[in-house]
Symmetry: C2
Subunit: 395 residues, 2 copies
């Protein structure tokens, strides 16, 4: 039995509550089973946490009874170290099923899951989760004849939307780590330094965390498009040096206990061009308007509208969403894939939801980013970092 190796920070009652909320939706939708493959959902429901998602794994929930975890044998052996399942709820598939053209781990899983997922019933799968491949889906369906497989449409992700006090505490620590890492990034971005050397400092700060709380790995590595490339958001670093006269957008996250607080800022080396100064001013005003709008009962669409009104008033426009729900994250994404702050989003905000408000202005050949991770409170919004919302200028 595991001893003090990894302490469960989440209490058994909270896991039971999470499971009960999932089961309630399953009943509403007449689902006799749910196959959970998103690592963030696995972590949420059981605490299971390992870099094992590159081979097939899943948690299977029947309509009743305890959940069962299926993973590669070498991972199943260690699963008990991090999760709240007993050994008899954990099933390891044989090593020889890994990376074979003729058989697939989900063949094996389907065969063993038949008693959990009754014939003639409807079973939901996480059809758009990152590590449930088309082949896995087909193998599962093939091995469960008589069951109707439907898309869960992010069932567990939606249950994760409102955070518990425990989760909010994790997010606040993640926010502290994000702020520390971003301060270091803005201080250390200097002409003549290589991008990779700055990233080394950011990643070290992310892992060190605080003296009391070590940082976890972020779902996304630091991104820092520079110069002309700053007009595009998802480029990672190179070993090119920073040069005077260039702006760099930096996006990173602080992570604690798998909870993510993402954060973006922009650094200008030298005097900023007027368009950048003006954009920064307008976007800061837009952030203020956005945060002033966030409170329970307001829709995601209304929050977007507040920002959009400000920037349109200054002749700017932004086509992409200005934020999305955050919480637990695993590569390749720290978003929850549920609520977006954009036109048409009818979900009403509620206390305990958390968002990454990200105001990325990606222009042709340049860009500006400002963001803030926030929590919806009973009557407004709580910022998770204390950084000023300004363009950083280093002369």
């Amino acid at each position: 039995m595991p001893s003090d190796i990894l302490v469960q920070a989440v209490e058994a009652a909270e896991y039971a509550d999470r499971l009960a909320r999932v089961r309630e939706i399953m009943r509403e939708r007449s689902l006799a089973g749910l196959v959970v493959t998103d690592p963030a959902n696995l972590f949420y429901l059981t605490g299971y946490d390992a870099w094992s998602f590159y081979t097939p794994q899943c948690l299977i929930l029947g309509a009743e009874g305890e959940p069962h975890l299926f993973a590669r044998a070498m991972d199943a052996a260690g699963a008990a170290y991090t999760c709240n399942l007993r050994a008899d709820q954990i099933h390891g598939y044989p090593e020889e099923l890994v990376h074979r053209p003729d058989v697939h781990p989900f063949d094996w899983i389907a065969e063993r899951a038949r008693s959990l997922l009754p014939d003639g019933e409807t079973i939901a799968v996480e059809a758009d989760s990152h590590y449930f491949s088309a082949r896995g889906y087909l193998a599962l369906g093939n091995g469960l004849p008589g069951r109707r497989l439907v898309d869960s449409t992010e069932l567990v992700n939606w249950v994760r939307l409102v955070k518990s006090p425990h989760e909010l505490a994790q997010l606040r620590i993640a926010g502290q780590i994000a702020a520390t890492a971003m301060r270091i990034a803005c201080d250390q971005l200097q002409p003549g330094r290589r991008q990779c050397d700055l990233v080394a400092e950011i990643m070290a700060a992310q892992a060190i965390g605080t003296p009391d709380h070590g940082g976890g790995y972020p779902a996304i590595v630091p991104m820092l498009p520079t110069g002309e490339a700053a007009g595009t958001p998802h480029l990672t670093w190179t070993d090119r040096v920073f040069r005077a006269g260039e702006a760099t957008t930096i996006e990173l996250a602080g992570v604690f206990g798998r909870y993510h607080a993402p954060l973006a800022r922009t650094v200008m080396l030298g005097d900023p061009p007027q368009r950048l100064t003006e954009t920064a001013k307008v976007v800061a005003e837009g952030l203020q308007a956005t945060l002033a709008t966030i409170r329970p009962g307001v829709t995601g669409s209304a929050v977007h509208h507040a920002f959009d009104t400000v920037i349109r008033g200054h002749g700017l426009r932004k086509d992409s969403r200005i934020g999305y729900s955050i919480g637990i994250g695993y590569p390749p994404d720290w978003g929850e894939r549920t609520v977006s702050l954009r036109p048409g989003e009818t979900t009403e905000l509620a206390a305990g939801m958390a968002f990454h408000v990200i105001l990325g202005m990606w222009m042709d050949g340049w860009g500006y980013e400002l963001s803030e991770p926030v929590v919806v409170t009973s009557n407004g919004v709580e910022r998770l970092t204390d950084l000023p919302p300004d363009l950083t200028i280093r002369r």
Copy 2:
């Protein structure tokens, strides 16, 4: 147009050759099209490199003509910075398709791909790649009526198996970075330090790389199961401190230009128990036998047999494979998902193949790991690092 932002290190002729080899297999299999979704395959065929794989993207190859890249609009805009495609070969789907329950980016992609993927033909998809979800697969099939979708069975991955001189040069640099990071890890693992603080040093070293070659991000974060948890391979770090009397297995990779050289070692704090010393000795002998066997014409199974014979002679056994093909890597995995060094592997090794020989002995409550990234040469094997194969003991 991009200027000097990201230089293409791969020559046009090499891209043309890669594409020609893929097309040749397509012809052999009567495939009229191929939908490439694995980021490593995208990079191999076009140089496209961004952290954009968390929303759907693909490269579509018809039987003839140029390939076309489909990605989210904000990523499509920046794609030309890193890849060898012209703007008219890059197609950005609208932002409002992201994370919607009712529509999916692959609906949009399928509609636009119809002319590239003719009716009545067989089209291969990468059915087991990590970022091609079941929902994406179903949307693609639905939007391409009259086409028969089949599994590519890692078609492009297999084309990647034998490396070009350019690729081998990248791997050698990655090996230098891996060795540097591992030296730092073994030196800095000390009683009383937190795991996360050691990881900070490892990740910084991975990013810094060498003075001439900055490091890239690894497909997998450093893993360092410690103490009792060392019996399980894929646990990531915590903020627990290292203690005298414990062994830690460390697995990391050096990365250059997306090419990965993974490396594993074990560090003992204090006097090792006899079982660890003995296992280390046997595994080092097993590594020697393994490397002595690797050369062109030998099967993956024969390489495994060489190792297995040594350890069985000492009463040890290992159920999992002892290695796998490596090269380009993206999260969540740095393996190529093709050749494994295990019983039944009939693929014959050839000069230019690269492997991570990983000898992980995961016992109940303890473990030992030793690994080496290697390249098959014309008459034997080339190690990519120069680290001794021993258990590191720190007293």
